[in-house]
Each structure stands twice: as structure tokens, then as C-alpha cells.
Amino acid sequence: MEPRTFSRILRTSLLIPTLVIMVMAAIVGWELQQLRTALTWVDRADRVISEMRLTLRSMVDEETGLRGYLLTRRDEFLQPYNNAIPRVETQLASLSDLTADNSPQQQRLQQIRSSYDLWMMYSQRMLSDQSALTASSFESNMEGKKLMDQIRNQFEETIRAEYQLRDERVRKSADLDKLFLGSLIALTVVLGSSLAFFTRRQLLGLSHAYDQMLADSRRKTVQVEEQREWVSTTLRSIGDAVIATDSEGKVSLMNAVACQLTGWTEEEARGKDLQDVFKIVNQETREAVENPVSKVRRMNKVVGLANHTVLISKNGTEYNIDDSGSPIRNSDGELVGIVLVFRDITREYQMQRTLRTTEKLALAGRLSATIAHEIHNPLDTVSNVLYLIRADSQGETLKHVDLAMQELQRVSQVTRSMLSLYRESKTPVPVSVKEVLESVLSLFDRKISGNEVRIAKSLPSSLTVEGFPAELRQVFSNLIGNALDAVGQHGALSLIASKTAAKGDLPAGVSVVIADNGTGISQDNLSKLFLPFFTTKGEQGTGIGLWVSKGIVDKHGGTIAVDSSTEADYHGTSFTVWLPEKFTGERHSPKVQVEMEKGKQLETA
């Protein structure tokens, strides 16, 4: 229910009873006024009656006084008479005033007045007639009595009329009283009950509205709670990492993937600055990448991260990430936070790198075919021409031609070695271990002599294994290349091939040990050596050499093992590749053997 409706109900609930009470008060007031007026008229009738009685008494007093005087002729008897005369005048005037509204009574009063005037004339005559005889005469007494009786009668009649009037008025007021009481009761009952009904209805409406409001708010609370739960669950279930911040860039939410990638728990991270939790640098330059919060705020739209962005987690692990930041706006369009969605693309990134490497290899393959054709053809011709010249030469010229042929054979050997790295065969063939190792060494000729690396070889020419020559060349090329990188200048390398007899499950085979006296590999790195994309050579290394080598050796059913020492006295690394004589294919669970044999110093010639 809206607050406006609520206040409207409240207003009518107050206003209507007030109005009703006011109307009732007005009615009661009016009725009271009516009653009072009616009572006033009764009161006036009482006053008229009593005034009439007083007037009559005053007149009787006059008569008594006159009669006494006429009998005694003593002035003191005349005193009441004289006293009463003005009183009667006043009383008559008062009566005339009191009955001014009543013309029958006025007429009667007029008659009384006339009778009184007659009596007064009579009394004056009696007083002025000094003869006692007259005064005491029966006739004159009778005349006075008659007049006075008439007055008395007239008064009686007037009083009776007034009594009648009074009775009427009393009745009228009683009626009014009854009406008043009745109407009051009726009004009270009607208005009271209708007020009660109205109030009840209002209250019921209000209570209903209140109930509805309560239910509404409860439903809304449940809805909000459900929605919150839904959003939370959704965010937490997303496969991508999600971090939300407030407008200040403080972390307010992190899902499980984000926790896993950043190494922070949500509790730890909440309230922290985003750049403390979400540390990103450029992979190549190692420079910090612009904080996504400020970037989103600056651009005020959804932004993506630059390529080659690396997330450094709390424990130092690095992840290539793909990321986008979006502003969170409230209904007014104000920025209230930022949501960051990112995912670990390390694998994709490395796959792409591998793909690029593979593409490079394929390109190198095509290139080598072209080189083979364009070099070997003229080489062959020149070689033949020299051979023909040689047959006709002697002395110095013969020497020179021999030298030329020798050098030409060197070129031929190098190109053949290089190109054979890319040869592909489909079935295993017998491969001379010595030939493979020699051809690989010839590839590194320049490096070996340039760095003055001493090479000790023990490569019996009788040793052969079944396999794919190009792949085996790749294995030994990787191992010898690594060894040369490890020893640097003036180092020493030993290549020892030997036959191994069949023993238990293991068939007969050939073991090749490639050892160097480089700085050695730490125990920590040793365990990761054969993992893909692990490299200690930084940008120079692809991190796939040993991984690929292990794959090739596995494919041949062989094993590859490493042994290394970083001790100051005896340091170096040796790789042992064992290959079966007969190609057996991949053996089950060929494990990389990593053994540390301290005290076994590397011997190089």
C-alpha cells in the first residue's frame, strides 16, 4: 500500500468522527436553545400570574383601606389605600409589559384597568363625600363591592387564562424535552453506530492494507534474498574468474576461480585495493599494466586488457590472462563499481606458441626441400667437374683440386646433416647410433670450436637401434645443444654409447650418456625438466625441447634419465638415453628417472 493511501485513510478516520460530533453538538445546542426558550415562556407565565395576584392584593389592600377609612374616618386606615395606589399603577404597567405579546390578555388587562378605573372613581367619590351616611350606606358599599368583585372576577379569569397559557407552555416544553431526549438518543444511536461501522470499516481496510503491505514486504525480502542468492550462485558457478569492486576500486566480491588464480581468499581480499589482489604485468616488459579500475573509469565503458598480460598470483605463479572490465552503474547511471571478468589462457597461449613453433618447423621443412634442390644439384655438378679435372691434374693443381673436393664434401655433409633433421619416415629403420651422434655434432661444429669446448667420445660404430633417424637426431640435437649451452666457454662434454644386455623385462639396447660440466640444474627445476613449456633459458628457450625429446624416446620404447649436481666441487649434468635394439613401440608408463647421485663426479676428457 502506498503511503498516500495510508494517510488518506488516516485523515478520513479523523475527519469524519469530528464532523459527526460537530453536527451532533449543533443539533443538541439548537434543541437546548429551543427548550430554554420554551422554559422562559413558562417562567414568564409564572411571573404574570404572581404579578396579577400581587396586583389584585394591592387592589384589595386599597379596598380594605378605603373601607376602614369610611367606617372610622381615621386617616391611619387610609394609609394602605394611599400606599397601594402607586403600587397598583406600577404593577399594572409591569403586567402590561409582561403580556405585551399576548393580545387577549392585554384586552383582559384593559378591562381590569377599566374596572379599576371605575373603582378608583368610586373610591374618589367616596372620599370626597364627607357624609358618613353616604359612606356607610349600603348602596354605596354594594357599589364598591360590585366593582371590586368584577375586578376580582376579571383577575380570576385573566389568571386562569394565564394558567392555561402556562400549562400549554409547560406541555410544549415537556414535548420539546421529550423530543430532545428522543432525538438525542436516536442521533447518538444512529451516528454512534454508523461511526462505529465506519471506523470499523476503516480499521479493517487499514489492517488489510497493513497485512498486504507486510506480505508485500516479506515477499520482496524473499525475492531480494532469492535474487541475491541467484546472482551469487551464478557468479560463483561461472567458469571464468570474476572480481567486483566498489567505485573506489576496493574488492567487494570474488568467485572461486578468481580466488584460485589470484591466490587470495575472498575474505582476505574483501576491502583491499584491486591492484593489491589483481597484480598484472606485461609479459615482455614486466611493467605494470594500467589498473583496470582507472581504465574503466577513464573510458567509462567496457574495456579489454592488452595482449600478453600476465597475472601474478599471491604465491608468484604467473598466468596468461584474457580480461575485460565493465562499469557497474546504478539506476541513475552513476558508476558504483567495476566488474572484472578474466580467465586463464596460459594453455591457449602456450598452444599458440607451440603452433607457431610447429609452423616454423613446417616452414623450415619446405625451406629445406628447396635448399636441398637448389644446393645439391649444383654441388653434385661441381663435385663431378672437380673429379673430372682431378683426373687430368698433377702436382700443385692436383693438390688444389683435392682441397677443393675436400671442402666441397664438407659442405655436402653439413647440408645433408641439416636437411636430414626434417626427414620423415613412416617405419622404423636400423639407425647407427654413431652416425646419428656424429651428424648432430657436425651441426654444432662452429659452436664447439668457437667456444673451445672439449669433446670426449666413445661411440662404437657397431651400435644400432631401430627407430626413426630424424626423430632420434632431434633428441640428441636437443641434448647436445642444451649441454653446449650449459658449459659455455672452455667446457667439456662427453658422449658415451654402450650396449646394454637384456635384463628382466628390459630387452637389449643401447645407452647413450651425454654429460657436461656446466653449473648443473637445481633439485627444484630437475623435477619440472620434462614438463612442457618449462625453460631456464628465458626468452631463448621454447620450453618444448626436452618435452618433445621425452615424447620421442617414449615412442621408441626407451627411457630418458637425468642426473645433476650443483655442488661447487663437482657440478654438471648428465642425460642418459636408453633405446631398445628392436623397435618395440611405447612402453607402458615410461617414467622419467630423476636420480641424484652425489659424489659421482662427471668425468670428461
Partner: protein, 129 residues
């Protein structure tokens, strides 16, 4: 050393699309006493092969229209005992390419290695005949 033995009369068909290389190789083989005929593509070579007998065919692999492997297969269909040596600029040829040849050599090898191989194959055949 073998200049007076019957091998010197052996006939060799030399096939290559590189004219200079082909000419020099012909000279080299003739110097060794062989009778040499040349063809610059597979079709010409097959035409010659059909009309005359050869003790050995020295085939280049990469040639336009018809490569050495195809020429070798066609020749073996005509004469299953034909002696064929593949001489290629490529270091390694697929197994299938070498199904119908007696030996495969890489261009640029020492000429004596080539001559020795040829001589061995011809004499092995002669003794087996």
C-alpha cells in the same frame, strides 16, 4: 681398375632435367668407360628404355611431369629386372619412392661413391645372370 672388364661396355641411361648436371654426369660416366645415353624427362627416358637395352638407369627424382619414382615403376613394368639407381637432391625420400629401385644416393656425394655403387650393382647383376 675395372676399365678392361666387360663392365666398360655397359650401357647406362642417365635421366635428369638439369642439363648441366646431366652433361657433366655423362662425361664422368663415359670417362669411366660406360656407354651413356641421356634423357631430360621421364617420357623421353621411357621411349629410349623401350627401344634399347640398358644395364643400368640413373634416375633423378624431382622432375616435371613425371618424377623418378613413377619412371622407375613404369620401367619395372616393362622389364621387372631393370637395374635402377635413384640419384636425388633430397636427403631422404619416402619409402614408397624407393620401392622400384636398387639403390638411392644423394646428389653431392663424392663421385667415387657414386661410381662404386654403379659398378657394384652392374657386376652383382652380371654374376647373378
Amino acid at each position: 681398375m675395372n676399365s678392361s672388364n666387360p663392365q666398360s661396355t655397359a650401357r647406362i641411361l642417365c635421366v635428369d632435367d638439369e642439363p648441366v648436371g646431366l652433361t657433366v654426369r655423362k662425361l664422368l660416366l663415359e670417362r669411366r668407360g660406360y656407354t651413356v645415353e641421356t634423357a631430360s624427362n621421364g617420357t623421353t627416358a621411357l621411349d629410349l628404355f623401350k627401344t634399347r637395352p640398358f644395364d643400368l638407369v640413373l634416375l633423378d627424382f624431382y622432375m616435371p611431369a613425371m618424377n623418378g619414382a613413377e619412371v622407375a615403376r613404369a620401367m619395372r613394368q616393362i622389364r621387372p629386372d631393370a637395374r635402377i639407381v635413384m640419384l636425388s637432391a633430397y636427403v631422404s625420400l619416402p619409402e614408397e619412392a624407393l620401392q622400384h629401385v636398387n639403390a638411392s644416393l644423394t646428389k653431392g656425394i663424392h663421385p667415387e661413391v657414386l661410381l662404386d655403387s654403379i659398378s657394384q650393382i652392374i657386376s652383382a647383376n652380371r654374376t647373378g645372370d
